[in-house]
């Protein structure tokens, strides 16, 4: 006899059937089919078995209390549990952001420091044209006040005014091309890339190792120097220049005036905005004398009379050259373009101005 299995389909359905609520059609069959009745009864008893009973109310209460205490303790010990997942991710994101920001900040600081150092050194190396040593004061650009006063080396990156008062230790201006200027005395000048601009003072200037021509600007004239020693006594409107050693050309600003060649022991005086040789010296200069090469490092001569003496008795020292009056171009420009030998070492010199000192 084939066993009845009508309740099987009901028992196997999804979701699981509620065994306490048997459908009407099946209930009729179950009432007459002993096998089906016993089967359904089995599953109903099984689900209600006392071994499968849950916890009593008291046990549930105890369990919940115990669980909550443990869960709370667990939450306190674990910070991450105290935060919702979203917050955890937000916190993690924030931490990463902070870390990233710190890294970026460090990089920025590092780069800025690196470039600052580089730029300073590069600037100083590239833009500097001279170094100032000794007791000198670098004046601010407006000339009102000193910005740096130091005995240490000062790198000059731009044209600067300096003031010095040094009798024993000379102030040294060392140009980038190796040329050096030693200043002793009291004076104020502007250090330019291609020379110096003497403003005032009474001092001695010694020029050494000049690679080219150094232009020394004095009131109403420019001195083209290739290595020499000169005494300046500049107190505008009067001034006096004494060449102690070497040779130099004094080129008046007025292009109509002739260049004055200064040789060892010669002095020139400024009067009425015109540079001129003192009368006594004019008498010694032979006319149309060819240029004489003078050694730059030659021995200094005995110094002539004091500057003030000479100033007190200046003659209209400037003697107009007939040629110059005929040809105005034979002034400063003339010298600039002509290959006039002004150095004392016998070597051929380039024209003044074409060899810019500061650019060497």
């Amino acid at each position: 006899m084939k066993p009845c299995n009508r309740v099987n389909e009901w028992l196997e359905q999804d979701p699981p059937p509620d065994l306490t609520k048997i459908p009407g059609s099946l209930a009729d069959h179950i009432s007459i089919c002993q096998s089906c009745c016993k089967t359904v009864g089995f599953f109903r008893n099984f689900s209600q078995d006392k071994n499968l009973a849950g916890l009593s109310l008291r046990e549930t209460g105890e369990f919940m209390k115990s669980f909550q205490n443990k869960a709370l303790a667990n939450s306190k010990t674990s910070d991450s549990r105290a935060l919702p997942k979203a917050s955890i991710f937000a916190w993690l994101d924030m931490k990463w952001s902070l870390a990233l920001a710190m890294v970026v900040l460090l990089l920025v600081i590092g780069f800025s420091l690196f470039f600052k150092q580089t730029s300073v050194s590069v600037t100083e190396e590239v833009l500097s044209f001279a170094v100032l040593k000794g007791k000198a004061t670098i004046l601010s650009t407006d000339g009102k006040g000193a910005i740096v006063a130091s005995n240490a080396e000062q790198v000059l990156v731009q044209e600067a005014g300096i003031k010095f008062d040094s009798d024993s230790e000379p102030v040294e201006i060392q140009y980038k091309n190796g040329g050096k200027v030693f200043l002793t005395g009291l004076g104020q000048m502007k250090v330019l890339k291609d020379g110096i601009n003497v403003e005032t003072g009474k001092f001695n200037a010694k020029f050494k190792n000049l690679g080219g021509v150094l232009k020394v600007r004095v009131p109403c004239a420019v001195l083209a120097i290739r290595g020499t020693e000169i005494q300046f006594d500049i107190h505008p409107p009067t001034a006096e220049i004494l060449l102690v050693e070497g040779a130099a050309d004094l080129i008046p600003e007025n292009t109509l005036l002739k260049t004055i060649r200064l040789e060892r022991g010669k002095r020139v005086i400024l009067a009425n905005n015109t540079w001129a040789l003192p009368k006594s010296e004019l008498q010694n200069i032979p006319k149309n004398e060819p240029p004489v090469s003078i050694a730059s490092d030659s021995q200094p001569q005995s110094k002539p009379a004091s500057v003030t003496d000479l100033l007190n008795a200046p003659e209209q020292g400037y003697e107009e050259d007939p040629a110059a009056s005929e040809d105005p171009a034979s002034s400063e420009e003339d010298i600039d373009t002509d290959s006039t030998t002004i150095g004392g070492d016998g070597e051929e010199r380039s024209p003044i101005g074409s060899e810019d000192f500061g650019d060497n």
Partner: protein, 175 residues
């Protein structure tokens, strides 16, 4: 949401599913004393990993944790826990070697229902989930890792086997 508020929410879920977990642990462990302790561990673990998005499928999730926890406990303690839910093959082979029906020495055996005890371990677990905990095939699939089709077959065979046993018992009682 603060930790306390979350715990309050979670406690509701615990209360709802507490008896299911306790029963399942008792069933898997043959009703040993560890049932409450294991249940406690199960819910604490669930609390540590709780995600409010799991609320909808909390039962399947908590039952999976329970099942894994019992397996871990069984592995740690060895033979002291008579596990009948997993390691089915091993358990079955041991029972066959001993000549005993699997789980025949179990404390957990519905009274007057020896037919259940005669079922293979795998079928007993599925029958328990289905007729005691009213778990659908889908959820059972999540818990056990078996396909719904496989589970349907297991249920079908279990129902047939039980029916056969019940009929035999009826016949024996009639004689």
């Amino acid at each position: 949401m603060s930790s306390r508020e979350q715990l309050t929410d979670f406690s509701i879920l615990v209360k709802t599913h507490l008896n299911s977990v306790v029963r399942y642990v008792r069933f898997l462990t043959h009703g040993t004393e560890d049932a409450r302790d294991i249940t406690q561990e199960v819910f604490l673990k669930a609390w540590q990993q709780f995600d409010p998005q799991r609320k909808s499928s909390f039962r399947a999730w908590i039952m999976t944790i329970t099942r894994n926890m019992v397996i871990d406990t069984f592995r740690r303690r060895g033979p002291s826990i008579k596990y009948t839910g997993t390691h089915i093959d091993t358990a079955a082979s041991n029972a066959t070697e001993n000549g005993n029906c699997v789980g025949s020495d179990s404390e957990f055996c519905p009274e007057g229902l020896p037919a259940f005890a005669k079922l293979p371990v795998q079928q007993r677990e599925i029958v328990f989930m289905r007729y005691v905990e009213q778990i659908s095939y889908g959820e059972m699939s999540q818990i056990t890792g078996k396909s719904e089709e496989a589970l349907r077959k297991i249920v079908s065979r279990a129902v047939s086997a039980i029916r056969k046993e019940v009929d035999n018992e009826t016949l024996q009682q009639g004689e």
